[in-house]
Amino acid sequence: MVTPLLSLTGVEKVWPNGTVALRGVDLTVQAGRVHGLLGANGAGKSTLIKILAGAIPPTGGAVSWRGEPVRWTNPRSARGAGVATIYQHIPLVPTLSVAENMLLEQRRGWRGDRAGRARAAAVARMLGDPFDLDAIVGDLPIGTRQMVAIAQGLMSDPALLIMDEPTASLAGHEREQVYGTIRRLTDEGRAVLFVSHFLDEIVALTDEVTVLRDGRAVLHAETATLDEAAIAAAIAGRSVAALERAESERRTGAPLLELRDLASPGKLAPASFAVAKGEIVGVAGMLGAGRSELLHAIFGADPAAEGLVSLGGDPVGRTPPEAVAAGIALVPEDRAAQGFVPGMTIAENLALPRTGTLIARAAEDAAARAAIDRLAIKAPGPDALVSELSGGNAQKVVIAKWLTPETRVLLLDEPTAGIDIGARTDILRLIRALADDGLAVVLVSSEFEELIAVADRILVMRDGAVVAEVDPAAIDEAGLIQLASGTHTDTGIAA
């Protein structure tokens, strides 16, 4: 057997406060292969990546690199050995140029150094020149920034490239670019440890897979022997009750939310449609297709928006306070940046939309307890800070904020993004239950199978315009991807 490039045996990590993040993980990475690493939120992926990057030391177990035991104590020693890590939130300096970002690690010499620039140019050429070296990083679209981050990682000529969710924020063709790069790197004999939430790309891209759950590696197998269902089951730890379309024909009531020529210059082409009481309208589209912009325009959060939004026949004012007063609620896309106030407790966050004069502590605590029970939020109590909850539980708080008798329309922007499968199923069930209770729901999601499973109707958006309306019973995921990307050749990640 060939000596593996990297092998971990029984790696443990116990935080000083006693929290156990890793309970003995075995992992081997071979040169020239793509190794997929999966796990629910909190399973220990990030901790493992940080240990490999040298950012934190393990508290037990052994790491060996090219057959030799090593103990990396800081990121520079790991990089020196040949491990490059690309984190999910791309740590680039937005005000510097691409070339300067790639050369950030350079430790001496002049800024305009010709040799450095030549090395940067060589790496860029290897990636197929996806960017201009002199462009300012802050001006680049997010997909290109991801390429810059990869290029930055490649500057140290690593033998192992660790990528944490590199495609999470990318659109279809940008993902394709990343996949192509990964294949080229492994062809050169480099190894890639690829962390992702997307089962389809794991199956299509990786050679072998390790699944973490509760700090242990629970599955390690050649990808060819697995299918998505098997991986999903390993992640969840139980067979996932696949969310199937409701059998019975759902009854929907009279039109409640109506849009007439709602548009925003440069972002949203005039859109007109209605959503009935009890109806779930799905909105499909690629990143940048104008889905969030549509929701923000409905909610009055886009001051440039024009057109008419009415609720039960009455026009709704064009500011968020007026929309909230009318009964429209928005669960925004970016939980941490837009959804909750981190320094506030669950009870306080839930009460944010409340108006009135005095704070009713007892009533708010009771409401928070009720929400914790109803949505099965894992939290010590109403006084817990939302910033201390996991992604799925924080998302439940953001949704629960709007579960008041006043809410009549619920606008959901990617409510399941970055959430593990268990919580994801909870949230989809909740959405369905809310619609059954008579809410009108508009659901934006990049997970097209979710839309097909829960929506009564799907609107497809492209380049800021609603381009099609389809019946979810009559379309499959591939069909939706084709409609949303607008070509019949670009079918996502078929390798």
């Binding site: 004069t357 800070l385 904020k401």
Partner: protein
């Protein structure tokens, strides 16, 4: 209510540090005074005097704290206060004290609206905008006063102004009444903290004696602090102030009018500065064009000593007032004990940085514990 009281947090360095600092400083100064054979430093009269000296900065500091909680910044307060004083002194002989005071505060509010609208709707950083108004408004004061000191020369108007500023308010019975109210509240709600406060206030009142009285500005400061504290603590408006500073986008998407709150904070800050300016003008019955120069930094220092974060979303007005008292106790101590005034700035600066360090380090430790 089964909300538990976390005593270790309430009396921890991060939560209560500024109170400890004030008590330690007072004890230290009292000991030094004792050993130098000076009159009792902790006399009711001297403590009332410190509160009086701190009152203007305290009033501006309370509003500045609200400003900082919303995540913005106001450097222009001292200039605005000087402008208000100049307007008061300039107009009072003509239109009488009440109308002149109204005009002064209205002028101040006007500056607040200008600050807020430029920050919110043009989108320039509050630091830059209020640095601009600091300079421009000071310039306006120079223009209005023609670079000279102004004085009120009509004796009856001057009398009114002095009455507004220098009347001494007897506090013995009011303090006892407040203490009794707190004790009743503690007994009714079964919450120990108000009871503790009641006992402390009653003890202070009894120690100070029946003749205890303070100058009017101390009472204005106490009332203003109490009102702002109650609004922040008990009302939805208060929670929304914290939400706007804690995460403006989340607040906006929860239907909170972020613009209104942020501009409101600028208006409150300038109105408080205007009121402080009126008190300042009344105190001297005169204004010189460089009055209060640099006071904005003392105001911000008081808020920082009180643990208010410059990042927004956190802060306490009561602790800001204690921070102001701490700074003026230092000044007062240096003067009364004749401890070499040249060291004063050095010591004050070190105190502010040390306080910020305690809050930052203590805050990190707290966050780590919370994550467990």
């Amino acid at each position: 209510m089964n909300r538990t009281t976390d005593w270790r947090q309430i009396f921890g360095l991060r939560e209560a540090g500024v109170y400890y600092a004030l008590l330690i400083l007072l004890a230290l100064l009292a000991a030094i005074a004792q050993s130098h054979g000076l009159p009792n430093y902790l006399s009711a009269q001297n403590l009332g005097n410190i509160a009086y000296q701190a009152s203007l900065v305290g009033i501006m500091g309370v509003a500045m704290t609200v400003m900082l909680i919303t995540g913005a910044f106001d450097l222009s307060v001292a200039s605005v206060a000087a402008l208000a004083a100049a307007v008061l002194i300039g107009l009072a002989p003509g239109i009488g004290f009440p109308l002149a005071a109204l005009a002064a505060i209205t002028t101040a509010i006007g500056i607040g609206i200008v600050n807020g609208v430029i920050v919110q709707f043009v989108g320039i950083n509050a630091f830059i905008v209020t640095l601009g108004t600091l300079t421009a408004v000071r310039g306006l004061v120079l223009v209005l006063t023609d670079g000279r000191s102004l004085m009120v020369e009509r004796p009856e108007v001057l009398q009114q102004m002095l009455a507004f500023e220098s009347t001494r308010v007897p506090l013995f019975w009011p303090l006892l009444a407040i203490a009794a109210a707190l004790l009743v509240l503690a007994a009714l709600k079964r919450r120990p903290l108000p009871g503790l406060g009641g006992v402390v206030i009653a003890a202070l009142a009894l120690l100070a004696g029946r003749g205890f009285a303070v100058a009017a500005p101390v009472v204005y400061l106490a009332l203003f602090t109490a009102i702002v504290w109650a609004v922040l603590r008990f009302t939805v408006v208060g929670r929304r102030v914290y939400a706007v500073g804690g995460n403006a986008e989340a607040a906006r998407l929860s239907g909170i009018s972020v613009h209104a709150y942020k501009i409101g904070a600028f208006i409150l800050s300038s109105a408080a500065a205007g009121f402080a300016g009126v008190l300042f003008g009344c105190r001297l019955g005169a204004i010189n064009p460089t009055a209060l120069q640099g006071a904005e930094l003392t105001v911000i220092a008081a808020a920082i000593l009180g643990g208010t974060s410059l990042l927004g979303g956190a802060g306490s007005v009561v602790k800001t007032v204690v921070g102001a008292l701490l700074l003026f106790t230092l000044t007062n101590g240096f003067n009364v004990l004749n401890l070499g005034a040249s060291y004063q700035g050095l010591i004050e600066g070190i105190v502010v940085i040390a306080a910020a360090a305690i809050y930052t380090v203590g805050g990190k430790r707290g966050a780590r514990k919370a994550a467990a």
